[in-house]
Symmetry: C2
Subunit: 461 residues, 2 copies
């Protein structure tokens, strides 16, 4: 008597018949799809499907649903909390080949794209239209992945996060239906806000197959500046006053002394090793000039000095390159080390306290951890530069990270401003939301009763 085949093997057989070589069970492909850019443990899926259309995703989900096989959607694998690890095996649906612009309306300033299109590819496509898509997490992530993790980045202070910029989604649900969460109207009061429910759901409620995004006019003028401060408090107070004054600043990024030192070393620059704000202004020629003057005056009141302006595109690129190269600079701080990036977000009135207490905590630890922040939103990152093979260092990073999160929660903040929960922060979600996690679990079970969609992420079932 032969053993009965496992459901996942049956499903893979069916999928292989339909998809041929686009269904891979090779060890290398599975391994590559079992981890993101974090150090949370990898878990390869049983198979990877390179899907090419909504219909294909739907067909694959229907097969998986019939055989109770988990489904994990995969974009660029650049998430940071273990989002794509196949903790219970199953089928990874890689949407990288679904990378087309489906439609674009310049008049409506919106675009519908397939989920595998990356943000940089989208902006390439938009060149010459007068429009751009502003959300910029560090990585050149896919639009599907950015929607799934509610990504944001340096200019969320002006343009919002994926929450504000996704107008609607086409989703394959756990039972294999295809739904649209919203039509293209700019606003609607028609029923539950399914769009916002799916944005940030990290693949646990369905697989996105199309995303409609809000676009923004390319500003007539852009200028950038860098300014250092005598203290973190001075820098943060300057940010608070800037925002209270109503200056529509496009970017206002903080780097601490540790980060500036790393940037100087890596990029051969000579910035002062002190808390530093990187600023960017978008608007009309006159508007940008006025914003910049206002902020320069505010910065001066709070101990800002050594303003460096960058008006021409090449100067601006150079200035922001230093900020964007932070990750490389950090890697260079300790040879052979890995990077563990974490983020929290607090009410801005608590940001100085949160950063200062965090830096005091870090001062007692051997692990370097440069700090950068999207401080206009109260959001900041630490990047732990650690020996990922050394269990003692891993444990130390885990300890520091937990203390950081608990500190942010105690100040009315959140355990993650933009990286998401994945399974790296799943326990912190309960610490943050308490009873409300039970509601999240009810919603999960209502939409995915067999826990097939990216199981083990956000809420445990």
């Amino acid at each position: 008597m032969s053993a009965r085949p496992k459901p996942v093997d049956t499903a893979i057989d069916i999928l292989r018949q339909r998809f041929g070589e686009r269904l891979s069970t090779s060890a290398a492909v599975r391994e590559q799809h079992g981890h993101d850019e974090s150090y949370h443990g990898a878990a390869p899926p049983d198979a990877v499907l390179f899907a090419q259309s909504t219909e294909e995703v739907q067909a694959a989900v229907q097969v998986c649903a019939a055989h109770r096989v988990p489904i994990i959607a995969y974009g660029t694998g650049t998430s940071l909390e273990g989002h794509v690890a196949a903790l219970k095996g199953g089928l990874c649906i890689d949407v990288a080949q679904m990378n087309q612009v489906v439609r674009l309306s310049v008049e409506d300033m919106d675009v519908t794209v397939q989920p595998g299109l990356t943000r940089k590819a989208l902006n390439e496509h938009l060149k010459g239209t007068g429009l751009f898509f502003p959300i910029d997490p560090g990585a050149d992530a896919s639009i599907g992945g950015m929607s799934a993790t509610r990504a944001s980045g340096t200019n969320a202070v002006r343009y919002g996060t994926m929450r504000e910029n996704v107008l609607g989604l086409t989703v394959v649900t756990a039972d294999g239906r295809v739904i649209r969460t919203a039509r293209r109207a700019r606003k609607s009061a028609a029923g539950y806000d399914l769009t916002r429910l799916f944005v940030g759901s990290e693949g646990t409620l369905g697989v996105f197959t199309e995303v409609t995004l809000r676009l923004h006019p390319v500003p007539e003028a852009i200028s950038s500046a860098v300014c250092s401060f005598a203290s973190i408090k001075g820098a943060v107070d300057a940010v608070i006053q800037t925002i209270q004054t109503g200056v529509p600043i496009a970017r206002i990024e903080l780097a601490d002394d540790v980060q500036m030192d790393a940037i100087n070393r890596h990029s051969k620059l000579d910035y002062k090793v002190a808390p530093t704000l990187f600023l960017e202004f978008h608007g009309s020629e006159a508007g940008v000039k006025e914003q910049a003057e206002t902020v320069q005056a505010i910065a001066a009141e709070h101990g800002g000095e050594g303003f460096r302006w960058a008006l021409r595109p090449e100067e601006r690129s150079k200035l922001w390159q230093a900020r964007h190269d932070a990750a490389y600079a950090n890697k260079a701080l300790r040879a052979g080390c890995g990077l563990w990036a974490t983020d929290v977000c607090v009410p801005i009135s608590r940001l100085t306290d949160c950063i200062l207490e965090t830096k005091a905590d870090l001062a007692t630890s051997p692990i370097p951890a440069p700090l950068v922040g999207h401080v206009g939103d109260g959001n900041f990152h630490l990047t732990f530069v650690f020996k990922s093979e050394d269990p003692k260092e891993v444990a130390e990073v885990e300890r520091l990270n937990e203390r950081l999160v608990m500190r942010a929660l105690a100040m009315g903040g959140t355990c993650t401003g933009e990286h998401g929960v994945g399974y790296g922060k799943i326990d912190f979600l309960t610490a943050e939301h308490g009873e409300a996690v039970a509601l999240m679990r009810s919603i999960k079970l209502a939409l995915d009763p067999h826990n097939l969609m990216n199981p083990g992420k956000i809420v445990r079932v």
Copy 2:
């Protein structure tokens, strides 16, 4: 043998013991709470509780849950789609006495209020802080009601709707738990977006007992203007170009010829009887001047003429008074008639077509229906001025309204941009969302399995 008391009577007895005279079963109080400002059929609740705290709302919900009695939250009763009608009887929880500001942070530019506080009372409270709360539906609605219906208004084009401006909610759920949907961080990627799920849920998922709102800096300068156009298309094209140019316009409101005629008659004004834009600019002195010049030039390109500027507060008030008095002006169009206000929202590229087709449809009908619109969002309203006692006129309004909604849906729009669904538009929701309504129903049943929270609204169970 005496008849067993009905569950609702048992619940009322228990509630009366606890709340005394704050639990009313008087016919007048019940009647008053059984309808909003629409002509959808009224349905009085069995009793009305004037609650004073989260704990009281929780206690009342627990009693109702135990006895399977429906619960309807009530703010100011200014909704427009039958939202508060107690279609299955039950307990109305009036939160008007929960009207306090709980906390205010000027640094964080946020405030937590009880749900019965009205938007005007909130702005009174904020005077002198340099901050204001921008969302302005016509009525002086409660913040709880505005959150529940995802309200917006004239300046959503700049400041967003309740969706963008509610940071978190305290909610009593159907099973009598108290949860908080979010902490105070300006952004978060921590789990499902419960805040956005509850905003716009119209009391069907829980009762709000506290609302945390985002505030905005009072602009340094404000200027307003009125400008008439030769055609609807000219006016809408001017709006599209204004927004594409990146002008951060605060208000851009359209009134059609019928509406302008009504305004002139009512307010003894002499505006040209033609499609007209009401504009408002917020910013620095120089910024407002620049915005205004840009828009004036754009308007001129599209046939705009007779610009009237209003810079001083009294002039501005007078200008906007005409717009705000539209409802009174409409009532004066036909003696003894009622107003049926409806709204749709379409992608702005379809707005001209949608308005022109609608006006052609109205031209064949005896019912006057002035048109005003938040055109920067693609959102517009008709106000049918009709004999509410005449079944033929009611049927005619229903027919025109249905044609309006179906036209908007066919153009990729929504059945309601800001009024909500209530039970007046419950059938249109299915026409709009199709399969996705099944998801909404699953969510409703997951969070309210006995269908006690405002039953019969948004989704039928």
